[in-house]
Symmetry: D2
Subunit: 187 residues, 4 copies
């Protein structure tokens, strides 16, 4: 058995909806389970109790929501200090209005989240472009739920985005099942 | 009189077309001129002979075209070594197919170009969101000519993108006119 | 008269000390004043009331402190929405233990802060390498107060770092004086 | 049997020396072999013939050497187009003078290389902080051979850096052995 922890913040429910779809994708892989927590409720012991950590956030001014950052500063830092995340699996996803028709800051937002996972010593799962839904649903770092058109009008999560998120969950689950409990990284 | 050097590489002519529109935008500001050079032909003396450096590139695998990188490695590095770019003005732009509907790597590509300009000690001009054309034509770091739809079908440069590029040129020219010849930065 | 707002968070006083030195550097330029506020107390009206915004943060897991991010999410976002920061001046600085002898995450931390300033439409002031103190005191994006050795032992702020911070303040002030009140960017 | 391809460019031999040490680290893991190629000689078929791709570069103006970028643009792009790198293992390393005492641009350089590997759909191996040699030998994204002091005087590769590089090779080899030939990612 392997388990995946998904931690997110949500403003209008879109990031929560994506987190749930990723969890559903995880659950399609036999022997792997998913747990959902908000950034406000997750603690460092939750990270220690799972084999993978998936972080999701709305884009705010080109970087993660401050509640996710608070989780990173106050909970992930202790995991970093004690090396208890080393060799686990990490992945990310995001949502945003996409203002400007060029991603709206999603790329640097996902990099900030991945940076934290890299510091924890986790294997990072990207979103391969042959993952179903990719063409409208994401970028190389993870799925992206763009919920607005170029004029900031809300359009909600699109089917392709949810499909990419589901595929991301399955990808993460397969990697986690392959490496959980093995001591592959570090000293 | 102030002058702007625009250095770019182009695959199918789109980046060249954007460079020309930015030059046209520069020329709308009285007293400021623009010079266009490809990354293959520009040399360090060209940088020294102008008050601003604008770099443009197609996105290739999430970072600038290798010809632009060669220009940076072989020509900008000498300017860096001698501090002759300090206090000048820098700005960037890019083009790409936009595969994936989330920018297709434009954000990290423009950051790589800006990184070089920051190392040269240049004042960096972003693309404010109230620049005409922004909503379809760019991101915070500069204009983006997305020339494909989400399935990689070519659609060419769009009018809004060219408008954002023109506005970027005018923004750059106004900043260059305001700071050229003043010793604002460094030791 | 031109004025610079410096917003920071601090854990042990190092980031506060750097903020104060930057303010002292600003004050060396005639006609430019500096105001210091913590990320907890600064509000969007403070940004609107000044000609430049300088953001400083400790590095936490490779990105800015969550209190700075909260300021960005809750205060800068309104400035972004109304374009009231466009054409102002922006700059950044950071502190950290520097664990790992390769910057300890300062580069991506400063980029996250600059990303916010770029979204606000601000002219970005880098740290030119001929700014006094640079060789031990910073990187291209701004001064860096590395307060630990490679084993995380605290060593405090170093004289070269404070010199780079002071020079950064003077650089920012000169740029602010040159562009304040002019309408150089945007629509 | 699993195999790792290491592709690098070198100026004065430091990056080559690090590549060789990483290869030696790979070889400490039974059943995993390493192949070394320069960026000038490696082609897309080499990537297809191995289970992992490790990219190494000197830092030049805050991003990878143009020869590595040319390899990415001309060879990795075909692998991307055909999805033949999906689910393989990717990792990075770098060298540089470290000018400025804050990494000298290594962080964004390694991110640019990782960006390419993420676009190829590869599992990314970070450098956990409990990898021997980390405290002087690297950062979260990979080992860093800082070969100069803060005044750009050459000091050569340090023992801790080589130890971190060797551990990185072993980490990469163990991950590659665990996932090679399994279809974990993509559609």
């Amino acid at each position: 058995m392997a388990s995946v922890l998904i931690v997110y913040a949500t403003d209008y429910g879109n990031t929560k909806a994506m987190a749930e779809v990723i969890a559903a994708g995880v659950a399609t892989v036999p022997g792997v389970t998913a747990t959902l927590k908000t950034a406000d409720e997750a603690v460092s012991q939750d990270i220690n109790a799972h084999d993978a950590l998936v972080l999701g956030s709305p884009v705010h001014m080109g970087s993660p929501d401050w509640r996710v950052k608070k989780f990173i500063d106050t909970q992930c830092s202790g995991v970093w200090m004690r090396d208890t995340g080393v060799g686990k699996v990490g992945a990310v996803f995001g949502t945003g209005s996409g203002f400007g028709s060029a991603g709206g800051g999603i790329e640097v937002t996902l990099l900030a989240l991945l940076n934290n996972l890299a510091e924890l010593g986790m294997l990072l799962v990207p979103l391969p472009k042959n993952t179903p839904g990719y063409t409208k649903g994401g970028l190389q770092w993870g799925p992206y739920g763009r919920t607005g058109d170029e004029k900031l009008n809300p359009i909600g999560l699109q089917p392709d985005q949810l499909e990419a998120a589901r595929g991301h969950g399955a990808n993460i689950a397969r990697v986690t099942a392959a490496v959980a409990g093995k001591k592959l990284l570090g000293g």
